[in-house]
């Protein structure tokens, strides 16, 4: 009984944190206390938060390393924007169109997730990591060769040719122009949309983690063979975690793409996947609030360090290495615990040893 109320408590903290952060930021924006470069980062931060929370589902809860999360983001971004542009005449109301586009983006990314989920079921550890990496690269490569246009007769899709091969009518419009990506996007992503997406994501992920399925997924992470022997279907639960994670990343991709007027496939490369993995690991595996904070802080810090321009990424790299060593080195950890233990003895009790 006490345990259930404890999880409910920590979940409420997470929701509350996001809502309070939203209120505070809206207040600061309204009074003009925020620089324009930082204001432009608000929607990307929301997208990265959703990405980090969804990747945490794969890496932290399911326990499988994924190096291609940006691939799902890319699928969601491109399908979402295509949907949004095609529906422009049909649904004039921007927030509704945005919501529908995000759902379409999420569905397509979820399907891609199911597709990549098939090898996931056979592979383990580093071999799985390389397959997700490969998948991300394949998506990038395919979208680079994809041409999509729309006219009164509907969508036209062409592969490996050029935009002329689309055979568009008089009123036609090229949406995806191969390596040039999509340009001329109407920016309809807002900070509010982003926060709503974060809340929806939190609702899905937190409810999943605290459900029967979530416990089954964590049992698979902790010991696959033992979990299998008590009758947990590996295929079903691995697939479930993977597809949900991919679908949420797709929605984040749509949100992200709608914040820029131009979007190209190479934006969602290996480095983006790694960036999100860094958020998840620094935030703490399986810790949703940690992912949110890490994603927000690590997106803002490079912005704040703009004045150091050339040195900022160097500093970022050094800080990353030092943080990883400080949080994972056994000697350093026990030293830290001794120091903290002197100040607040309760901390030492709460610290649990990792597996």
């Amino acid at each position: 009984m006490k345990r259930i109320s404890k999880t409910a408590h920590s979940n409420l903290y997470t929701y509350g944190f996001v809502i309070i952060a939203y209120a505070v930021l809206m207040l600061i924006t309204a009074t003009g206390g925020i620089s324009s470069s930082l204001k432009g980062q608000l929607v990307p931060i929301c997208a990265y938060v959703v990405m980090a929370v969804s990747l945490n589902l794969t890496v932290g809860v399911l326990g499988e390393l994924s190096l291609g999360h940006a691939g799902f983001m890319s699928v969601g971004a491109f399908t979402g924007v295509v949907a949004c542009i095609s529906l422009e005449a049909l649904i004039p109301l921007a927030p509704l169109r945005m919501a529908i586009s995000m759902v379409i983006g999420a569905l397509c990314a979820g399907m891609a997730g199911a597709l990549i989920g098939i090898p996931v079921l056979r592979l383990r550890g580093d071999y799985l990591a390389i397959v997700t990496l490969a998948f991300g690269e394949i998506i990038k490569n395919i979208i680079n060769c994809l041409y999509v246009g729309t006219d009164s007769r509907g969508l036209h899709i062409s592969f490996l040719t050029n935009s002329d091969a689309l055979n568009l009518g008089e009123d036609g419009r090229v949406i995806i122009d191969g390596p040039m990506g999509i340009s001329g996007i109407t920016k309809i992503s807002t900070f509010t949309t982003g926060i709503i997406l974060i809340l929806v994501t939190l609702f899905i992920v937190l409810n999943l983690v605290n459900s029967r399925s979530g416990r089954a997924i964590m049992a698979l992470r902790d010991n696959r063979i033992a979990a299998e022997s008590v009758g947990i279907p590996v295929t079903k639960y691995k697939m479930m975690a993977f597809v949900i994670s991919a679908a949420l990343a797709g929605a984040a991709g749509t949100l992200y793409a709608m914040n820029y007027s131009t979007i190209i496939a190479t934006k969602f490369n290996f480095n983006t996947s790694i960036l999100i993995l860094v958020f998840v690991v620094l935030g703490g595996l399986g810790n949703v609030l940690g992912s949110i904070i890490a994603a927000a802080v690590l997106t803002v810090i490079p912005e704040l360090l703009r004045e150091f321009d050339d040195y900022r990424m160097l500093v970022y790299a050094i800080v990353l290495i030092l943080v990883m060593i400080a949080t994972n080195n056994a000697v350093f950890k026990s030293m830290l615990r001794r120091v903290l233990g002197k100040i607040r003895p309760s901390i030492t009790k709460d610290v649990k040893e990792g597996p």
Partner: protein, 293 residues
């Protein structure tokens, strides 16, 4: 004839991947970590050779040797400072640290040498050998690359199989605790592995930039990823596997470019990888590890 020339350039590109993949696979075998900074050591090696030969006018051989020495030092220093404190940590923590090192090397290179691409001139010149009455022309660099790859392969097989250090390496990769009890210095063995891997990366960097002459701080990342793929392809941890994986990857890339589509060549390489892993989940020569509860 065109088929033959594609075959040779495929093997040549594959040889570069194989040399890089050897570094990945040796480090993985001994410390079970994915050293993502390996690709950037390639870039550092290429820059050192570039400055040695074109700025300070050293002979090419001296340039390559200097690059090897500096990369060896760099590899050992990285291992001591960044990876050694995390010897007993979770593999994901080490992976992120390796990514941090990779960012560090790329950005340090950008500060030191700017992001303007440098035009690397081949260390062996741009000559080519004509065969079959001029129908088939093979560039000297392709021949040198393939030869270097074969020499390295033979040397490494001898080293890991016959020498005391090589045996220590294999012992460490099998069971570190038991190896230590037998009087093997695990830390020193790991350092030597990083040293060899980094020296190979320097050679690969010079060969890669001799064949594809643009040198930038990000030059190493894509070949790094490809070589990592090659190592997994052949079964990570296996030295002959890395060799076979690298050469196959190079061949698939060149043939894919020539006969299917230039734009889709990367997608083809990675798709083949996924299919191979579906059939053989631990790579071509990887060991099947049986899990116990």
């Amino acid at each position: 004839m065109t088929f033959l020339s594609y075959l040779i350039s495929g093997i040549s590109l594959g040889s570069v991947y194989a040399i890089i993949a050897l570094g990945y696979t040796m480090v993985y075998g001994i410390s079970k970590m994915l050293n993502f900074a390996h690709g950037d050591v390639i870039m550092v090696g290429a820059y050192v050779c570039f400055f040695a030969t074109f700025r300070w006018n050293l002979p090419p051989v001296a340039g390559v040797l200097l690059a090897m020495v500096l990369c060896t030092i760099l590899g050992v220093v990285i291992e001591r400072l960044a990876y050694k404190p995390l010897r007993s940590a979770a593999s994901l923590a080490v992976l992120i640290t390796a990514i941090g090192v990779s960012y560090f090397l790329q950005n340090a290179a950008q500060l030191l040498w700017t992001s303007n691409p440098k035009v690397f001139t081949s260390v062996v010149g741009n000559g080519s050998v004509k065969l079959f009455g001029g129908q088939l022309s093979i560039s000297v660099i392709a021949i040198v690359t393939i030869a270097a790859c074969i020499i390295i392969m033979i040397a490494l097989t001898w080293f890991t199989g016959m020498t005391k250090m090589g045996k220590a390496m294999r012992a460490c990769s099998e069971d570190k605790g038991a190896a230590q009890l037998m009087g093997i210095s695990v830390n020193f063995t790991i350092s030597v592995t990083f040293a060899i891997g980094s020296a190979l990366a320097a050679i690969a960097g010079v060969l890669l930039c001799s064949a594809y002459p643009t040198l930038m701080p990000t030059t190493g990342s894509m070949p790094g990823i490809k070589a990592f793929t090659a190592a997994v392809f052949g079964g990570i941890g296996s030295i002959p596997g890395a060799m076979i994986g690298g050469i196959l990857l190079g061949l698939i890339e060149i043939f894919g470019k020539a006969y299917i589509s230039t734009q889709l060549s990367d997608a083809i390489v990675f798709a083949v990888l996924i299919i191979v892993l579906l059939v053989k989940p631990t790579g071509l020569l990887g060991k099947q590890v049986h899990e116990k509860v």
